[in-house]
Assembly symmetry: C2
Homo-oligomer: 217 residues x 2
């Protein structure tokens, strides 16, 4: 079976941060998270696909075009333990991810972690499988599960950077918010020369977001 592409979509700040650091118990996402991903969560597609808002509300234009593309043809996802929430909620045996009982993935998700964890069958086709293996093998599993569709490396930056450094990513899309976060985990560290072998295209949205796409030549 032919394999789909390996894709990444991330929201980063101008100074390259893909994580925020101002979470509090009262505000578990923090103020910065809204500023980092706000242009994406305002789109019509995000509202419909993730929030279940079928009213048609939400922004259109360049941000919306990228949000639509985000959901195209993904057959499996890989994410790190941090993105799944194990670094914050690993002690809670009932933790089932940030996304509720019907997560927006709707495909098999492979969570990279060094800690064994039982598989979670969620509603709507999402399954979380926890794997302790190298990234090449994780990708193998994801390609098989994707049945020829694309595989997304969902995040966080620590995981994405490993796949980028190993040359395993066919398409990287970053939505750069015009803000400086000043701290967190940077996507771009130690990726000198990444652009070799990619076409790089940038496009700006009315929201001020810069959409940058690295596409394998």
């Amino acid at each position: 079976m032919p394999r789909g592409a390996v894709r990444v979509d991330l929201n980063i700040s101008l100074d390259g941060y893909a994580t925020t650091t101002d979470q509090t118990p009262e505000n578990p996402f923090g103020h910065d998270w809204g500023r980092l991903v706000g242009a994406y969560t305002a789109t019509r597609t995000f509202r419909a696909r993730v929030l279940g808002d079928t009213s048609g509300a939400g922004t259109t234009g360049v941000d919306e075009a990228y949000a639509e593309a985000y959901f195209e043809e993904v057959g499996a996802e890989i994410m790190g333990a941090g993105m799944f929430g194990l670094h914050d909620h690993g002690d809670d045996p009932d933790w089932r991810g940030w996304w509720g009982e019907n997560p927006p993935f709707h495909v098999p998700v492979f969570v990279l972690t060094h800690t064994p964890h039982p598989t979670l069958e969620m509603e709507g086709g999402t399954t979380f499988r926890f794997v302790d293996t190298d990234i090449e093998h994780a990708l193998e599993l994801a390609h098989e599960a994707a049945g020829g569709k694309d595989v997304r490396i969902g995040g966080g930056p620590t995981t994405v950077r490993q796949f980028l450094a190993a040359g395993l990513v066919d398409r990287l899309h970053v939505a750069i918010a015009p803000i400086l976060l000043g701290r967190g985990i940077r996507l771009w560290d130690d990726l000198r020369g990444l652009e070799a072998g990619y076409d790089v295209v940038a496009e700006t949205a009315d929201s001020g977001t810069i959409h940058l796409t690295f596409r394998r030549e």
Copy 2:
């Protein structure tokens, strides 16, 4: 006398580096420098204003529009010892900067340095004065010398970052080259929240360069 604006124009990589690290005795600028500033040095304005090429050759379009704006109305410049070359050539008593006898500034230039150095009177109106003082006072001197025109903080990143952190910059334009340098000195370090009080606008050029402008609201 009314004061001009304080402006910065820099070329940075996607990962925020404003300096390159691959200089060799044979290639004193290094290969990366050409990749970092190539879209700018290819413009018609750079060729005419800096290389003295009056043939009209060079790129036009978005990169050229920013290159033209670069030379508008600057009455004095401030730069760091690193940009002037004192960190590489400080031992050479005959060092007169990288730019030859007729540097492209054509205005008084204040070079920040802790090491005393005699003033250099160059051709074409450029004077290099070496000052050991805080940035606020250096700006005072530059505003006086500029006679109401704008003051440019020319670079390098260590100097620019000080002026940005102190809130002294009215307009910051960065031309972001779609490359990852992976090492050097980053412009964006420790500037969390810089965007507050600025309008931020991004525009992309055919060269792949992203022109980002922070303008005081």
